[in-house]
């Protein structure tokens, strides 16, 4: 019996496979179509619609949106209270990001360099577990912790450190009647909530720094401090930048945390929430939304210029 060099296609599946084998571009096109449609229409499309809205304006008398191109809405962004909202939010996001980076780095470094076996599992669990529980529950829990009758006040008094807490609350701007009604409180909750998003990318970046780079650096005469500055930190920087994109943009856009923990002064997210809801001022809400996008674009451009992505 002789064997045929080529077998006949088996069934309809086999026939389709043969078509794809002969025309690989067709397969690529079919595979890419759904994600491209999703990103193109649903994602970029809606973003574009948002951008378009920001160039309309609201008629003050009728409360209706005037569908006519204008920069008046953007002009409103730079008026008194609106500028305050933007500045307040950007400063908060920047502080949250910097402090998160400082807290996250040693944890990420330990996890990447030293933790092995069950210690590593424990690390992932500890970092990720807060992400599994409801965000609202955590924020309300913090409200209780930070309240005047809360555990922090109690603890401070028990340690006879009440004066320190009162001192912090007595500070202008950042202070307030209690931690849960102050910027300090808002800040603490932001750092708590977004910290995992800083730790994980930093840890991933540090994980990719081979141990023998550190040995090579020491071998070439660098003491641990020099090795950190010239080898470890530059190689971890893309991870820190990735983490800071999360912490920074999430803080810029959040409207729940400052509403539950904080004073009555608005942040960008809250402004958008109020404007698109009761006020019905979609154009100004859209203009506010464009602010974080512009800031993030600028931030990434700066990071790229400083060489943060050179090793990627």
């Amino acid at each position: 019996m002789t064997m045929a060099a080529a077998e006949r296609p088996r069934g309809i599946g086999g026939a389709i496979s043969d078509i794809f084998f002969a025309r690989p571009q067709l397969l690529t096109l079919l595979l890419l179509m759904p994600p491209l449609l999703w990103i193109g229409v649903v994602y970029v499309g809606s973003l574009f619609a948002l951008l378009l809205q920001s160039f309309y304006s609201l008629d003050d008398f009728s409360g209706l949106v005037v569908h006519q191109f204008t920069l008046a809405t953007y002009q409103q962004l730079f008026e008194g209270s609106n500028v305050q909202i933007i500045l307040r939010t950007v400063v908060m996001a920047a502080l949250v990001t910097v402090v998160s980076a400082f807290i996250a780095f040693p944890i990420a470094y330990y996890a990447a360099r030293y933790a092995r076996g069950w210690m590593k599992a424990l690390f992932y669990l500890a970092v990720m577990m807060p992400l599994w529980s409801s965000y609202l529950v955590k924020v309300y829990a913090w409200k209780l912790i930070l309240a005047k009758e809360g555990v922090i006040t109690w603890f401070a008094n028990a340690l006879h450190m009440g004066w320190l807490l009162d001192g912090v609350l007595g500070l202008p701007i950042v202070g307030g009647p209690s931690l849960s009604f102050s910027y300090v409180g808002t800040f603490l909750v932001f750092v708590y909530i977004w910290l995992p998003y800083m730790i994980l990318p930093t840890q991933a970046a540090l994980e990719r720094v081979p141990a023998n780079f550190i040995e090579a650096s020491a071998d070439l005469g660098a003491d641990p401090g020099q090795t950190f500055r010239t080898v470890i930190f530059p190689l971890a920087l893309p991870g820190i930048v990735a983490g800071s994109i999360f912490t920074f943009s999430l803080t810029l856009g959040d409207y729940i945390i400052p509403q539950i923990v904080g004073n009555s002064r608005l942040m960008i997210g809250q402004a958008v929430y109020t404007l698109q809801g009761t006020a019905g001022n979609i154009p100004l809400a859209a203009a506010f939304t464009v602010v974080p996008m512009v800031i993030m674009a600028f931030y990434l451009w700066m990071a790229k210029r400083m060489g943060a992505f050179d090793v990627l």
Partner: protein
């Protein structure tokens, strides 16, 4: 003059494993010294002890007469070429080479000149501005070499320096390393599991087995006069004769090494030359290797491997007489 590197009864344990077990060794200044052994034999740990990445649990280490226990790697005047080169990906080739000088605070202009010279020395002139990712394996190897040598180390350590290169490149680099070492006069200590590499490059070789040095000597010493079955087997290949077999062929009643290339096949009808031992047997394996053919001859006592010129063809099952000079039987003493 004190030796370049001195190990006195050095041990290093990892948990229950004695990676280095009571090693004593003197490496002379200007030597090209090979640490040879199978993986896990402790040779790399010895290199890391010299570099300072490991500290001995017991014993004493000196580099040019100075005690180095407790001295961190960044305060030792030795440099290492790492097995996978460990070039910094966020720096250009030039910055990599100048790294050690930058750390020492050498001015920009001076370190750039020195880096350029070092790259020229390893035949990579003009590569300063390249990214390390753009280099081939052989080029990375050269950059790693330049990065170490630019610091003017007293001892250069090389960890399996040619392991990742293909055969042709490896042979070329062997020659270059050898001539570089001769011209610089720096002590080179290199780790390898490749006995051919050790024999062709080194002035002296230390052979490691299970954390201990089993023999130290020139390449000719360890090849021609192995003192143990392990060395006879690991360095080149060898027929190991038991004391009884060695005695029956006129050798001394000790474990004896007989190199395959010393065994000849006696032509049919010709007698066994004087001063030769001989045996008859049947060819069981024929392996053509280009320049030579390796045949395994099953004699009444044991199978013997012989390397013979490829000019005479052999077939499996041929009845042959083999002979070897009495002097080719090297007694390894009582070592098993």
């Amino acid at each position: 003059m004190s030796p370049a590197v001195r190990f006195q009864n050095v041990s290093r344990r990892f948990g229950a494993i004695r990676a280095v077990d009571g090693v004593s060794l003197d490496i002379q200044p200007g030597e090209f010294f090979a640490l040879l052994g199978p993986s896990g034999s402790g040779k790399t740990t010895c290199l890391r002890l010299i570099a300072g990445f490991e500290q001995p649990d017991e014993g004493h280490i000196e580099i040019f007469g100075e005690t180095v226990e407790g001295v961190p790697p960044y305060r030792r005047n030795v440099n290492t070429v790492f097995q996978d080169y460990a070039l910094f990906p966020h720096m250009t080739v030039g910055e990599n080479v100048a790294y050690g000088l930058m750390i020492k605070g050498v001015g920009k202009a001076e370190r750039e000149t020195k880096a350029r010279d070092a790259l020229a020395m390893v035949k990579l002139a003009g590569y300063e501005g390249r990214r390390t990712a753009q280099l081939s394996g052989g080029q990375r190897q050269r950059v790693a070499l330049a990065r170490a040598l630019v610091n003017g180390p007293k001892v250069l350590l090389l960890d399996e320096p040619l392991g990742a290169l293909d055969l042709k490149l490896r042979e070329q680099m062997q020659e270059e390393l050898k001539s570089l070492q001769t011209s610089l006069g720096i002590t080179f200590v290199f780790v390898t599991h490749d006995q051919g590499e050790a024999l062709s490059m080194a002035n002296r070789v230390a052979i490691f087995s299970e954390g201990k040095i089993v023999q130290v000597g020139t390449p000719a010493d360890v090849y021609e006069r192995p003192t143990s079955r392990f060395v006879a087997d690991f360095v080149g290949s060898s027929n190991v004769l038991s004391p009884e077999v060695a005695a029956s062929h006129g050798g001394s009643a000790t474990w004896t090494s007989l190199r395959p290339e010393r065994i000849e096949v006696v032509a049919t009808g010709a007698g066994v030359p004087t001063g030769y031992a001989s045996a008859r047997g049947k060819v069981s394996v024929v392996s053509y290797q280009g320049a030579v053919t390796r045949i395994t001859v099953v004699t009444d006592k044991l199978p013997l491997v012989a390397s013979v010129p490829a000019t005479t063809p052999f077939n499996k099952g041929d009845e042959v007489t083999i002979a070897w000079p009495m002097a080719a039987m090297v007694s390894m003493g009582d070592a098993a």
